[in-house]
């Protein structure tokens, strides 16, 4: 009986040892980049939203496949981070576009008001 118990413990231990935790730093960086993309407003820019969702999905896939393929899971973390960074960059681009459009509209309105004032004179 003692032999069986010891064998079961060894088997259990070796099973646990085959699924190491995801690399903490890479996981933390990927999650942090996803949060940053959310905070900057990636949800509001269509292209950025797609990559943000892809980053979340890749992150989830990394956690799911860690047991079978820890190295592949770690690489998925890098992919998730890069997807979140792209979402962040696209969100910034959209913001810059919006700001440019607002400034152009303001300029146009000012020029029109100046023109109207000139015509009134």
């Amino acid at each position: 009986m003692r032999r069986w118990t010891a064998a079961a413990l060894v088997a259990f231990g070796s099973a646990c040892a085959s699924a190491p935790p995801l690399p903490a730093e890479r996981l933390s960086q990927a999650e942090s980049e996803v949060r940053a993309a959310q905070e900057i407003g990636a949800e509001r820019a269509p292209q950025a939203k797609l990559y943000l969702q892809a980053a979340r999905d890749t992150l989830a896939a990394a956690k799911e496949t860690n047991k079978e393929d820890p190295e592949g899971a770690a690489r998925k973390l890098d992919i998730a981070r890069a997807q979140a960074e792209l979402a962040n960059a696209l969100a910034r681009e959209q913001m810059a576009k919006n700001e440019l459009n607002t400034a152009r509209a303001q300029l146009e309105a000012l020029k029109n008001s100046g023109q109207a004032a000139g015509d009134a004179r």
Binding site: A82, E85, A89, A96, A103, L107, L110, G114
Partner: protein, 284 residues
């Protein structure tokens, strides 16, 4: 012996060296990198492009592992980094344009403000000039009124400023032709009216003595004659009219005195401001 060893060594070399040549994903990443090097990212976000290159190098090194999954995953990261570098490059360009536009907005605002201030200053100067002209006109009006008041009756009534002249001082008895002395007096009245620049009307009141119908007809002629003279002296024609003397119309009571009773009176009524067009200086 050597015949046996050769295939063994060849097999060992083949299985031992598991180096990959390329993968499609890696090729795509290299093409994308070359394209990005020629694009806006190279000048506007070189640091981000360098990061992408670093990941591309890692993907290249992944070939040594012999595992295409490793190569493709790293190539994918490199591609994403490249796209991010390009997006950041476009963002820099947009931000530059935005800054220029914001600067232009600021400049345009300042220009509009300057123009408005100039216009305001110009309007204030014009108003000041107008006020000065109005004050001067009022002083001149008062002076001319004082001159008139020395020889004629001038009254401020609700209907306006009424200048009353005896008919006998203006016209020959029973006629509508102006006497020289009458012309002199009317010239001073004309000066007063021109200074006032307001609407006026001429009313001739018939004498209280003699035939009523004859006096009424004569009064109308006299009113018209006075108007003609004042226009000839420079009063704007559209600002002065002669009121026909109608026996039924309410007639202003003749002033007391024999000179009015025998030859009637001529009233020139300077109406209050705003009825004759133009400016409305002076007293009501």
């Amino acid at each position: 012996m050597s015949r046996l060893l050769l295939p063994v060594v060849a097999a060992a070399l083949f299985f031992g060296c598991s180096h990959l040549q390329r993968t499609d994903a890696l090729d795509q990443a290299h093409s994308a990198y070359e394209k990005a090097q020629k694009g806006a990212a190279a000048s506007s976000s070189p640091a981000d492009l360098a990061t992408a290159q670093k990941f591309l190098d890692l993907a290249d090194k992944g070939l040594d592992s012999g595992d295409p999954k490793v190569v493709d995953d790293r190539a994918k990261v490199a591609m994403l980094k490249l796209e991010a570098a390009e997006a950041l490059g476009r963002t820099h360009t947009l931000a530059d344009e935005r800054d220029k536009t914001v600067q232009e907005v600021s400049l345009t605002k300042q220009q509009l403000l300057d123009t408005a201030q100039q216009k305001l200053a110009q309007t204030e100067a014009e108003l000041e000039k107008e006020k000065t002209a109005r004050d001067t006109a009022e002083i001149r009006l008062d002076e001319r009124r004082a001159v008139l008041a020395r020889e004629t009756q001038v009254q401020d009534l609700p209907e306006g400023t009424v200048i009353t002249l005896p008919g006998g001082q203006l016209f020959a008895r029973g006629g509508a032709e102006l006497l020289p002395a009458g012309r002199d007096r009317l010239s001073r009245v004309a000066e007063f009216l021109k200074t006032a620049s307001r609407a006026a009307r001429v009313e001739a009141q018939p004498a209280s003595r003699g035939s009523r119908s004859v006096a009424l007809a004569l009064s109308s002629k006299r009113a018209e004659r006075v108007r003609e003279f004042l226009v000839a002296e420079g009063v704007t024609p559209t600002r002065i009219r002669a009121e026909p003397t109608d026996g039924n119309a309410p007639v202003r009571p003749l002033p007391a005195g024999p000179e009015f009773a025998s030859s009637g009176a001529v009233n020139i009524v300077l109406e209050p401001g705003g009825t004759g067009g133009g400016t409305s200086p002076g007293r009501p």
